[in-house]
Structure formats: C-alpha cells, structure tokens
Symmetry: C2
Subunit: 186 residues, 2 copies
Amino acid sequence: MTHTRGWTGRVFIGASLDGFIARPDGDIGWLTDPAPVPHRATATNSAEALSWDSFFPMIDHLVMGRGTYEKVLTFGAWPYAHKRVIVLSTTLRADDDRITVVRDLDEAITALDRFGARQVYVDGGKVIQTFLRADLIDEISIGWAPVLLGHGLPLFGFLDHDVQLRLLSSTTSGNGMVNATYAVHR
Amino acid sequence: MTHTRGWTGRVFIGASLDGFIARPDGDIGWLTDPAPVPHRATATNSAEALSWDSFFPMIDHLVMGRGTYEKVLTFGAWPYAHKRVIVLSTTLRADDDRITVVRDLDEAITALDRFGARQVYVDGGKVIQTFLRADLIDEISIGWAPVLLGHGLPLFGFLDHDVQLRLLSSTTSGNGMVNATYAVHR
C-alpha cells in the first residue's frame, strides 16, 4: 500500500447502467453491437470526457486477467501491437511472446516497475477489483450503456472502505452512452 | 403485463457509482452528507436533466416499500403532504392515515387505478425492482454519486430479459453527481 509507483493506474470500461460489464458467459455483444433501438439518446454532447481515441494512445502498459486476454484473442487481430501486455493468471502458460504472464499482484507490480511502466490500462472486472483494493487505481472512466442486463459479471466488487472519487468530465454520446471519468481521491 | 395503465411509473434515485443505493444497514449518509472532499467535480453542467425541483412537483402518487417508508419517518417532517403515498408491505399495520398500505403488487396497481394516479414516483430498491420486472416503469432518473461503497443494497436486481433504455438527458453537478434520465423503451 505504501509502495511508491512511477506509473498511473487507469480504468476505462463500459458498463450497463446496472453495473455489469458482461453477461454471465462473458458476452459483451450488448455493448459492442447494441440492440437496434431508434433514438438511443435525445441528449447532446456536453463536456469533454476521455474517449477511446484520447485514452488509448496515452497508455504504454496493460494489465488484464486471463478471461479478458482470452476474450481479446477472439477479436482476431491483436490490438496491442505497441503496448506491453501483462496477464495475471495462475494457470496460463507463458507461450505467447506478445504478453508477460504473472501469477499474482506482487509479480504484476514488480513487472510494471521493471518495465518502467508509466500509463497502465487496468482491464477486466476481477483485475480492476484487485487493483482497486490495493489502492493502485488513479483514474476510472466508465461508459454507462443504456440497457439493463439483469445479471452478469459485476464491474465492481467488495471493498472494506469507501473510495472517494472526483468527477473530471462527463460526456453523452448519440448512442445513449454516458461516459464519465473520475479521479480516485487520496 | 397487458394491464392498461392511466399512470406513468417513474424512478428518481441516487446511487453510488458502483450501483448501491444504501449501505447494508440502510444508511444513505454518503449521499445526503458526502465526505468533505474538495473539488468533487471539475466538470461543468451540460444538458438539462430532471432535478428534484423539476421532478417532484409533477408527481401525484408515491409507491415505496416498508424500508423506505421507515427511513422517511426518521427525516422528521413528513415530506409528502400533498401526495398520496402507497406503502407495499406484508407486515406493516395500517395505522398511519398519511399512507395507504397494500400487501402485494396487484393491490398496489388496484389502488393506483382507484385513486386515479397519473404520475407515480416508485421508490426503494426492492419496489423499483418489482415494478421493473412487471414492466411498470416508464422513466428512470439516476444520480451517480462519486463514491464507491463496496457493499450495500443493490439499486437493480435480477431480470430475465434486457431492458432497453433511451437517454433523455444527462447533467453533471458541482458536487460530482452525474444525473441521467432514461426512458424505458417498448
């Protein structure tokens, strides 16, 4: 907890309005290919929130869990060509030289330090929760999708203390998303 | 489900960013009396979302559960002087003539019809979930508070089908709240 980091931990994730990031089977089609409902938003754009195009180029390292890694593999083209990718998994074999496999949080932190990480994209529900509980997240961007799923994988999990946030920006988009970026207050 | 209503069901609620509306013991002080963190927002106001001052006067009836009712009693002054209040409870005694106690959802719907309800404020996590599952909610306004609680009572619950929403408006306020109003798509 008192570890001095040289890097900034960031979250950038889409969630349903009821706080789910995937269906129970991991499906995110409701986010990437939403139902063809007309007029998903009658609101207009407002402030400047982080978008993928402003967020992703600033990132030099990613940390994700095995579930997120295997999801990314199904996308076809590897989207992280010029980023270093650390995958947290107790079981994954280290046979993909595009990634660095670590077994636990301490190994992940050690690897980030060794690599000289600066801007770290922390992705995947369980890894976000792990990093949040270890006070390793500085900024959280959430896109709230205009849908209720009713069950799925939770974005956030148990915390034994409140985490106070500061709203940095909020933008609505024509597809009905509300994108908000928060700083973690310390 | 095919019941024809003369009234509009509405939700207007504050939730923590991780989707909780209260702590496990029902406490909402984190919302009503938030931690004195400076600069809860550096975002500016944007579009016109429903505020309490624009929402509450349009309401003629409220439906809430026993938990919410008992919470309101602790506020001191009764805040619903000119509204009809229906409390859904299997146990509450009908000895408060400011409210109408009903035992189940069917009784609540019957009472709203009999009273000629038009604009119904559906309040409390369990009652919101009950009304949502019965397709009795037309509009949902949520204020996302800039805090993670880590555990509490969930705003939303299990649904056996997606509920598609349309973003009507979104406003950020100086205390870091993101207020969004959605229409339920049919």
